[in-house]
Symmetry: C2
Subunit: 401 residues, 2 copies
Amino acid sequence: MSAPSLPPSYRPLDIEGLRAELAGVPALVQRLGGAPDNWSIREVSDGNLNTVWLVHGPTGSLCAKQSLPHVRVDPSWKMPLDRTAFEKAWLENVAPFVGDAIPALLHFNPTLYLLITHCLDGYETLGPALLKGHDPLPVAHRIGRFIAHTAFHTSPRGGPFEECARREQIFAGNTVLTRITVDLVLSDPYRVHPRNHHHPALTDLVKQLHTDAQIHHAVCRMQERFLTSRQALLHGDLHAGSIMVKGTDTAVIDGEFALVGPIGFDCGMFAASLLLAGFALPDTDARAHLATALPLFAENFESEYRHLCANGAPEADLAPAFLRHRRGVDEDELAVIRQDMAGFAAMEMIRRLTGYAQTAYFTMLPEPACGERQKKALTFAMQLLRDRAQAWSRLMAPHFS
Amino acid sequence: MSAPSLPPSYRPLDIEGLRAELAGVPALVQRLGGAPDNWSIREVSDGNLNTVWLVHGPTGSLCAKQSLPHVRVDPSWKMPLDRTAFEKAWLENVAPFVGDAIPALLHFNPTLYLLITHCLDGYETLGPALLKGHDPLPVAHRIGRFIAHTAFHTSPRGGPFEECARREQIFAGNTVLTRITVDLVLSDPYRVHPRNHHHPALTDLVKQLHTDAQIHHAVCRMQERFLTSRQALLHGDLHAGSIMVKGTDTAVIDGEFALVGPIGFDCGMFAASLLLAGFALPDTDARAHLATALPLFAENFESEYRHLCANGAPEADLAPAFLRHRRGVDEDELAVIRQDMAGFAAMEMIRRLTGYAQTAYFTMLPEPACGERQKKALTFAMQLLRDRAQAWSRLMAPHFS
């Protein structure tokens, strides 16, 4: 891949460069308080793509995120800088509908691709938290509501189609990160590819991924849904690494993969994170408790989405108020979202077990449990993908043992 | 509606203004030949929106089309000028795949919104031609192929999704004309609206359009398909007024409504034109012959589309070559296209009989035939929309008598 040309004024910041940049923005200086030299700046880069810092001053804090011209964990993988601009656009587009479920946008520097938001002090990433025994039920409840509100309000059920078209224009430009999803989630696990790897216990199952007729048929169907359905603005990467928790509070971060697509994709990404954690938990009581988070999530999403549809939006173009018999169409759409949720959950699980950017959930387990638990998880995911008729009931009552 | 502000250098052209404009473009001067004063310029505006001229010189001809800042047939209905720019973009995007089935683009003046293409000398509009006895079979055959090729090649089956995303970015901007479709085709006939009118013979049926549960359910479903499916680049207005014929030759014009949407929308628009002509033809033999054009169109579209899918495209992201079991997914998609074709055909017929911009097919009939034939057509369309299970068989064997 050839290196994209950088804007002339772009430079990757170090801690002192960031300090100088923040010191030049009066609103941020006021927020942090004190003198710039006294601000505590800590790099906390954790995702695969960007540099992230937390900044604390005497009176306030913030989070800074800068795009790099390459994948952070693989500098040979060159990448354009525009991903923080898409994250900013996502924050702006969903903020009106989700309250404090996302960090507030404070500042964006478009030449440095530097995004400044509220700092989520005291929060931790959902994935490790689940494995340490964090209660999954409040987050399942809140993410269900979160998807319902962002999806409804950014769809033609929630407003005139012209607003949807404006979002499609913006986010159809997010091809670099969408390409990652198309390749890593929707394609690579189903072929031999140098980015793939797997635990030796999975070898026989991985061979099936490359050849099984039912799986390939389902993969094509889910590719079609992802590539041609434009129901609503999605987060696009709503796994447990994009969710922060603090007690029963929940915040969604890292919207740089945002795109207009099928609502069940966000649902499926989140479901896959719960499922992978469920298969990785060593404690059977904890597993049984986590299993209840799946139906709780789905029920909260669906009841909230139904409620929003029933109330309607005065300017909506889809199922407008003058059509008296819209209810059935909302139920039809929820049935499609269920199918999409099951299919994308399966593909995300398969990817995290056999592709690139794998889940770390299983690495804490000793052998042979590490391999056995992954095998159980992959078997479950492959059944979920193969058997469409039973997918929903299987997803709502997963057997982790 | 407030008047959109015009670009300062825009002015609506008259014949002499057009002559001067053409005389300033060397390639057009060379094409037409002779001196500008000797060019024959004839206004032939026929559609609802724009001014159109045919220009002939000693050695060549061309067609000129200029956007007006209002609907041509209703100057009180203000409208931005960008529609010829979208028509130009549509011509550019489909030209590589359809040969001479569209007029070649010769020139575009972006400040005058003036589009210059080949002139279709000797062609006539399909609608009146059908009523005068033009054989519908060659055009049904060719339009089937035309939709198959434009749809396949502009979908993620025909190339990388990034090319589809680029087209989505362009055509999501075509909101002004898409708004016309959303309102006039997908909404207005199902409510009381001052733009609607109908023959007195249709009054009872029109009341059903405003209240019938099955029809409203189907309308919502089709609205959802139109507003959220992004299968391929569509013509967007493929009725008999956008198709020119000359013997067995066929050309598609007027792509200003182009948008990325469900493939069955283009299929349904064309089918509705055949169906309306079939109900309007006074001669029973001619009706029976026209009835055979529907299955011929569908068979040609489907066989060509299957052929393109089976051969595949090397860079395609949807159903890529390494997935061995893609065939079934193509058949699933064709089933969706059939449902969409039937639903949109029904809605287009209903709109042309009870909404704005009605078909002129029936006006030549004496009373009471004029009302009776429209009633037959509307009854057929409403059955088509209500009864999804029987829609395809009904569409493929319409009883015009």
